[in-house]
Amino acid sequence: MQYKAFQPIFSKITRINKATCELQSRRASYDELAIVNGRLAQVVKIMGDQVTLQVFSGTDGIPTNAEVVFTGKAPVLQVSDELCGRFFNAYGDPIDNGPEVVGEERVIGGPSVNPTKRKQPSELLATGIGGIDLNNTLVTGQKIPFFADPEQPYNQIMADVALRAKADRIILGGIGLTNDDYLFYKNVFENAGALDRIVSFINTTEDPSIERLLIPDMALTAAEYFAVDKNEKVLVLLTDLTLYCDALSIVSNNMDQIASKDNMPASLYSDLARHYEKAVQFPDGGSITIIAVTTLSGGDITHAIPDNTGYITEGQLFLRRNTDIGATVVDPFRSLSRLKQLVIGKKTREDHPQVMNASVRLYADAMNAKTKLENGFDLSDYDQRCLEFAKEYAKHLLSIDVNIEIETMLDICWDLFAKYFSIEELSVKKELINTYWKGKKREVKADSKADRSD
């Protein structure tokens, strides 16, 4: 970001705290950028001639006679095809030793799309992961986070999804990434030879935390350029938005705002929605899909961050360790893709909705059986079959290591159904049974226990 000093210089700073400083000026406009002793800052409050500036890199070492220059504009990003394959910081400046990007200057955090100009998303976004494609199918133009505890391999999964999904462009917004994770993404993208379709905006833990607040806007401004100007299918990855929210709470705290639940600012919902709602399907074919990461503390989704996120996004993908198979799975109960109804059974095979429901129901029965077992009760024959089914289902379909086509997933389900259950126990529409059932056609008598033999 190149901001020229063309405004007068001010120097009497009257208040300083960790994130903001206050000075007298009558020239400032709301949201505009200023430079305080060479550091970027933004106007967050004006009261008479008192202007409050939020200094992105923190106020340590700022003197009361600092040089303050108002730039007259809100944060901008230079957009052009030159962005591709490059890595930038939160201000949009290159961090990969490459040249400055020359392009059209766009103000970040622009206005929202007119809802009537949107198109209903209807294009499948396959990832090869059973827990996603089978149970929580994604659609282009969707916004969805992974809910994961910090120890789970969410960055690996994000990288897998990014490379497998058929997107024209991938924008990575790294918010508070560790340097190791940053290098991980860089390596994975380079090794896959995919670098030329990827643009990255990175704020690592080594950078000041307030700078993070700019990352989602930067990433989404770039995304809008490719989706609107170039009609491309853009996939935006934001990791980790919990750290973004933490930065928000620091700022609101420093501005003496009354915190609401979990010390988060009262505007948290709007602050998050502003970014997530940039996900869109345009009628001309361009789209922005947002996949984010929200890290949880001990799986607690009632915390204000995952809670508000869940109300904004179109579902959530809940990562959980499955000890039976020793792998991370996408939890079929707490995960949800709200847009899956737009593609399953329509863009995928007709039996997809019912197969999905039946298998999740049987998996739930297995969980009940497990509780019974833990409480020391005898298991019925059905309980035992459910448990066997659940183990195979988790291993072959829910595990995030799986990488197969959706039709294969459905076939695996039918194989497992036939192996462990009778037609009645499935409760699936007759027409589908007629086409896809792989077991015996005869009816199972309620009193015959020998029925599951084969």
Binding site: Q50, A74, F333, K372, S380
Partner: protein, 590 residues
């Protein structure tokens, strides 16, 4: 109200986000609308507080680039909607801009558009005549708007009685043509066009009487109609953690409910949900008139990324438009998703105003604001003896899924029906995830409702509802027993009871919103199914072990679900019913 020719002009003194502090020499009024100038853009704002010289204005748009000293022009008006024929099928933002008229892909700040179609003409038929004595809200004539009869009324703002001095003859007239001239005893004349205005925060009370709701609003959703029915002119709310199916339930009700006009207020929710409505409704049929659903629908879209202040306005805009149609003698249904977002918008502003916070930092008057809003719904008798109603159904998004949070608690005090969505049911994919035991409809206690249901559904209907709820409660109790004592630790009867409750759960409560047939169950089919299941409940079966019970009832569930998927009273339905009887007879003890 300041309503003189000259209005105040002020200067910006400061701002935090969308709260702008203004100073003006001349008088201003609370809730007066103003325009904040920024370059050649004019941003809409509303006075929300005055403190000595400082006027606090909430700006309905982004204040980026605003400076101290910018001009603010006050209007002398409160926030109003424009009312007239042509509102049906439109998609408005929270401030009633017609979003389809805005051409650009992105919403530009300060952009506005007309709520009606100024050049349109309508075939007007007078129903009143010269010399008639009239007052605000009285019907002068009618035009046809889609399938409804849209009454042209004496402007709601008209004060006192008037005599019709002249009224035009049957024919086609422009929206803004004079269609009648009224005169009051003082000799003041009032010209009437098809267009009028009303401030959104003020209730329209142009009816002779508001009575207790007594007739059922059919929704086609079994867990609502068969267990906790909502009445026409009634209020209800749907709280639920995210992912429990609030939106799917609301969409289903909006598609299927027996209403003349459906207003969909998307308040701080996802834009794609609005897209779904205006993509699908033009293709779907209104089950009652056979016309396209979009013809009876109005969308108020203030999605979560649109300016926060307009969120509050959006629910009031929806309510005011509903009151306008109710005064025409129509049945209006408002669905607001979600009132929590509206409460959050109030909280954001209250926070910026540095008001002392109530519970969870919400403003102290939250309960009063919500109660006041819900009270605008209702079943009314108009002065001409006709009836009109507004049924209001709001969703609540309790933070952390906690049903004790302030918005849920406040709403519980106002709404008469409560549809609690259960995380547990949603996890088990038992949709709609309405908890049958926690939920209630206070209307079932009304004697007038009971006699209505006896007359229109069946004599025993209310008894059947109560019996069904008892079975479900018993089912839960025995399930807990079985979980504690184990399958073998309880008598076989317990298993029977549990599975009979499961049967009702699977066949009545659960409903596939995405299946053409199952999605909507008319009330006569609901009656048939509930009676059938209560019959089965009364039967004794010859079953030896608890596993036999489970297997047998799974067969019954399977058969009854196939029944739900087939068209009512079709040959297929009859075959399935015969098969069911065979399965029953196999084990039934007569």
């Amino acid at each position: 109200m300041v309503d003189t020719a000259t209005h105040a002009v002020g200067k910006v003194r400061g701002m935090i986000s969308n709260l702008v502090i203004v100073r003006a020499e001349q008088p201003v009024a609370q809730n007066e609308i103003c325009y904040i100038h920024i370059g050649d853009e004019r941003l809409l704002g509303e006075v929300i507080k005055v403190e000595e010289q400082d006027i606090f204005v909430q700006c309905y748009e982004s204040t980026r680039g605003l400076k101290v000293g910018n001009t603010v022009e006050f209007t002398g008006q409160m926030l109003e909607v424009k009312l007239g024929p042509g509102m049906l099928s439109k998609t408005y933002d929270g401030l009633q801009n017609d979003l389809n008229k805005l051409d650009s892909l992105f919403l530009k700040r300060g952009q506005t558009s007309d709520a009606l179609d100024p050049g349109s003409s309508w075939h007007f038929t007078p129903t009143a005549k010269e010399g008639d004595s009239v007052q605000a809200g009285d019907w002068l004539g009618e035009v046809k708007e889609n399938s409804i009869t849209h009454r042209i009324m004496v402007p709601f703002k008209a004060v006192g009685r008037f005599t019709i001095k002249s009224i035009v003859a049957d024919g086609s007239y422009g929206l803004e043509d004079t269609i009648a001239t009224l005169i009051n005893p003082e000799g003041q004349e009032l010209t009437v066009t098809m267009v009028q205005y009303w401030p959104i925060k003020r209730a329209v009370k142009l009816y002779s009487e508001k009575v207790r709701p007594f007739s059922m609003l059919e929704t086609g959703i079994r867990t609502v109609d068969s267990l906790n029915p909502i009445m026409e002119g009634g209020t209800g709310f749907v709280p639920g953690p995210f992912g429990t199916g609030k939106t799917v339930l609301q969409h289903a009700i909006s598609k299927q409910a027996a209403a003349d006009v459906v207003i969909f207020a998307a308040c701080g929710e996802r834009a794609n949900e609005i897209v779904e409505v205006f993509t699908e409704f033009p293709k779907l049929e209104d089950p009652f008139t056979g016309r396209k659903l979009m013809e009876r629908t109005i969308i108020i879209a203030n999605t979560s990324n649109m300016p926060v202040a307009a969120r509050e306005a959006s629910v009031y805009t929806a309510m005011t438009i509903a009151e306008y149609y109710r005064t025409m003698g129509l049945r209006v249904l408002i669905l607001a998703d979600s009132t929590s977002r509206w409460a959050q918008a109030l909280r954001e502003m209250s926070n910026r105003l540095e008001e002392l916070p109530g519970p969870d930092a919400f403003p102290m008057d939250l309960t009063a604001v919500i109660a006041n809003f819900y009270s605008r719904a209702g079943y009314t008798y108009l002065r001409n003896g006709q009836t009109g109603s507004i049924t209001f159904l709001g969703t609540v998004s309790p933070s952390g899924g906690n049903l004790k949070e302030p918005v849920t608690e406040a709403t519980k005090k106002s709404a008469r029906c409560y549809y609690a969505l259960s995380q547990k049911r949603a996890d088990q994919k038992r949709y709609p995830a309405v908890d049958p035991v926690e939920s209630y409809s206070k209307y079932l206690e009304y004697p007038e409702v009971r006699s209505y249901l006896q007359e229109h559904v069946s004599m025993q209907w209310v008894d059947h509802i109560n019996q069904t709820k008892d079975i479900l409660i018993k089912g839960q109790e025995v399930r807990d027993q079985i979980n504690i004592l184990g399958d073998d630790g309880v008598p076989l009867d317990y298993h029977l009871l549990f599975w009979k409750a499961e049967l009702i759960d699977f066949v009545i409560l659960q409903q596939d919103a995405f299946d053409k047939i199952d999605a909507m169950t008319p009330i006569d089919r609901q009656r048939f199914m509930l009676e059938l299941l209560l019959d089965i409940y009364e039967m004794d079966f010859q079953l030896e072990t608890f596993e036999d019970v489970a297997n047998y009832f799974k067969r019954l569930i399977n058969q009854l679900k196939q029944l739900n998927y087939s068209p009512y009273a079709s040959p297929e339905f009859k075959t399935l019913l015969d098969e069911l009887k065979t399965i029953i007879d196999e084990k039934r003890i007569m």
